[in-house]
Symmetry: C2
Subunit: 216 residues, 2 copies
DNA sequence: CAGCGCATCGGGTGAACCCCTGATTTCGAC
DNA sequence: GTCGAAATCAGGGGTTCACCCGATGCGCTG
């Protein structure tokens, strides 16, 4: 039977997977945080890791990076509520062997786990399309955004973070200026610095970036 | 034993709740869509409905509104991955008796359900703070964008929704025009109509609005 | 004190955005 | 056959964004 390690910050969801997949695969361990996950995976050596994408402290990406180096034989199947292209692409680039959304049924998930264990690559049907698009190269889709990392965020000054927050909420420069009692020009300067430091090129990307990180 | 009806579009999560709460409460039914949920709740008359906030076809809000009128005695406990203020406030305004995040443990969830069944109001500790803030008075923030409702969304024509989707992804008018094989001017018209119908005033607010609703 | 990061402003440019009026075509409904 | 909704496009004007250049103060550090 395929051995599986479960990483998800929602205890309830882990319980669901355990209950539904119990008969088809062997769950050898589970963790709620990236740190616990890394330790647990190294200790239990599962064939497949079911990995939630959105978690505190770096999410699935952090787990993938740390474990991937040490145990290259481990297969990762990303499991997420998000079907956003950035998430999918980031996980795949980091070495995940598949990506399915949490809308998946128990049967399909069990199939996916077994196929990944067997060496296959698995995607939710809806995702397969733009995964191919993304890797074809020149994205017929524009702008795609060289995803800013959380490390970039640390470079922001306090004032810049303040402006970032308001930008993310959709405020116009003028409104931000009024809110912070500074001139529109100063807001422009901060905004420009934020975009440069996060390596983004427009407010739209900034809003998306912030929304993905629950910055409100 | 408290009777509970389960509404969540993730089968895996429902299974988790069922498995973990099985001993403490009686799950009398479950549904994956608002439509099924309304029918099922009316038929099974549970004491408490565990309601996921983010779902296709209007989410938990739709269920709450439709069932709330017909069965005023039913208690709703919102259960969401999101801890965004808008979500919480919207659900509470619509009549939910509590709001907890999916990070909750099985024990705490069982407690919450029983307390809601008994007439209490339950919030995740982290949420209690800004729920009070939100109801203390007006936001003091500018422009605030009289939040567009999902009802407004229904007024959009098919083409407008298409444009909305691309706007939300951060495409420039020019790029949308190229994508849809129409002129920039037509895109402007559609965009303008979308903003008016959703009662928003800029595409930045639109980006935010769409991100909050997971429109990609 | 000289240097540096931070925050504060300004001027100017080109592009993108938002709105207004007005027009045509198509298509289904009355 | 007419009416209205939807989609298409154009012209024009004002606003906002993103970036370029520069400048001034303030506080900290070597």
């Amino acid at each position: 039977m395929t051995t599986v390690y479960l990483v998800d910050d929602h205890a309830m969801f882990r319980a669901g997977v355990r209950a539904e997949l119990g008969g088809r695969v062997e769950v050898v361990g589970e963790a709620a945080t990236p740190a616990d996950a890394v330790a647990g995976i190294v200790a239990s050596r599962p064939q497949v890791v079911l990995l939630d994408v959105h978690m505190p402290d770096g999410g699935g990406l952090a787990v993938l990076r740390q474990v991937g180096e040490r145990l290259p034989a481990t297969r990762f199947l990303a499991l997420s509520v998000s079907d956003a292209a950035e998430d999918v692409i980031a996980l795949i680039r980091a070495g995940a062997r598949g990506y399915v959304t949490k809308t998946i049924s128990a049967d399909d998930l069990a199939d996916a786990v077994e196929r990944v264990a067997g060496g296959d690559v698995v995607f939710s049907p809806l995702l397969a399309g733009f995964v191919l698009d993304a890797f074809r190269d020149a994205p017929a889709a524009p702008s795609v955004a060289a995803a800013a990392t959380d490390a970039d965020f640390d470079q922001l000054t306090p004032r810049e973070r303040e402006v970032l927050r308001l930008l993310a909420r959709g405020y116009a420069y003028k409104e931000i200026a009024a809110e912070l009692f500074i001139s529109v020009k100063t807001v422009e300067t901060h905004a420009s610095n934020v975009l440069r430091k996060l390596r983004l090129s427009s407010r739209h990307q900034l809003t998306r970036w912030a929304a993905d990180r629950r910055i409100t």
